[in-house]
Symmetry: D2
Subunit: 136 residues, 4 copies
Amino acid sequence: MGMPFTTHQRLRFCDTDRLGHVNNAIYAVMYEAGRAEMLEQAGLLSPAAGRGVVIARLEVDFLREMNWPGEVAIESAIVRIGTKSFTLRQRLSLNGEIVSRAVSVLAVIDTETRRAVVLEESWRADFERWLDPDFT
Amino acid sequence: MGMPFTTHQRLRFCDTDRLGHVNNAIYAVMYEAGRAEMLEQAGLLSPAAGRGVVIARLEVDFLREMNWPGEVAIESAIVRIGTKSFTLRQRLSLNGEIVSRAVSVLAVIDTETRRAVVLEESWRADFERWLDPDFT
Amino acid sequence: MGMPFTTHQRLRFCDTDRLGHVNNAIYAVMYEAGRAEMLEQAGLLSPAAGRGVVIARLEVDFLREMNWPGEVAIESAIVRIGTKSFTLRQRLSLNGEIVSRAVSVLAVIDTETRRAVVLEESWRADFERWLDPDFT
Amino acid sequence: MGMPFTTHQRLRFCDTDRLGHVNNAIYAVMYEAGRAEMLEQAGLLSPAAGRGVVIARLEVDFLREMNWPGEVAIESAIVRIGTKSFTLRQRLSLNGEIVSRAVSVLAVIDTETRRAVVLEESWRADFERWLDPDFT
């Protein structure tokens, strides 16, 4: 069973909005920041690979407000590896409290044809260190 | 049956990312831009009201890439009005093609206590012009 | 004498910050949005051209706050065409009032070597429709 | 002589643009992120104080491109304290290399009247730990 991939993002003043708290769209920014670092480490964002990862669906639950300043922990785990897609569960924490959870479905495409391709075995191996079907 | 609330957003150069297309998080920015203008017109973003609207959940389906430059049409319709929350369906179009769909669940809070309150009748009336349970 | 290049940007809710107004960094976003559309129309953002435009310096004067919602007019004029660089003056208006002015110095580079190159005559011709040394 | 105020920001995937590098407007975001944390530590962003800080002018020199992923060091020093305004010099570094320098002029306002006020002695004292007229 793998461990979640964890990275951190320091909130920026411009992440706030006129309601005083961190803007809702920043949650999506944070989830992408974590996802992209995970995929980068797996070598999947290198154009040389001829493969790319696109997001097909994102579900976000907003549990608590976030306030600037602070540092957000972004945890990501792979909960399902399919034939042409995989599913990620992620969560955001601030000051030790979970403030949001998300599920995203990602597809792998051929960067030339822009069509979904079958997930290669080597990628599956890369992914397994972050595979935890029970992560929530 | 109401009509969807429609607004437009011109893409900005910084909405793109190094994959060449419009960044995924910008879809969430667009949905919020449309939602906020709708709530503003309904008078729900005025602090004087003592009521605020917070987002509890967002689901986004990414159907197509968007490329800069261009102007995005954001359509929003209310599909359900509950006791303390309401549900919005939205979609984004670029050059006449639907590129994304979203569902969001919004709660109404007392801006003092930060707790969910019952939706007032006057708000329901405001909302009904955008109520279309069949909008997808 | 050319006319300034003009484009518009509708403010987004997330452009605001917890001070209630539009965040300062959004002014830079707006200037870039205007600049990039001007360069795109001049054909300078096409990778096929083998030439690129990079910004060397940006000076922004903040004259007034901007408040959401609203639509910003972005005017851009070329005030100087040098050998390897050119200078732009820009201004932002909201509700008919000038809220900010900016000057930027842009260099033209070879996209392969990443080095500054001499501005080609054909570009100068493209630029002259927006050339107004007296624009402020 | 004071030390510069230093903070760090991890680049986000969405900070990139379709030119492949970190977008120019993000430099302004970074400078604000550093400035705001410095002002927050000095207690100047607290609404209770009845005083606020607004930016009057920003000058940015872009020395090098930044590439994702990475962590940006933001250094800020006060180089001048005037009667109603003060001047900041800042710089951004990535991987130990300075990538940008900036100068900003900030004014102190009464948050009620929105007018510039004289800088209080207590603020001057707060600022002196970051005062370094020779910082570049």
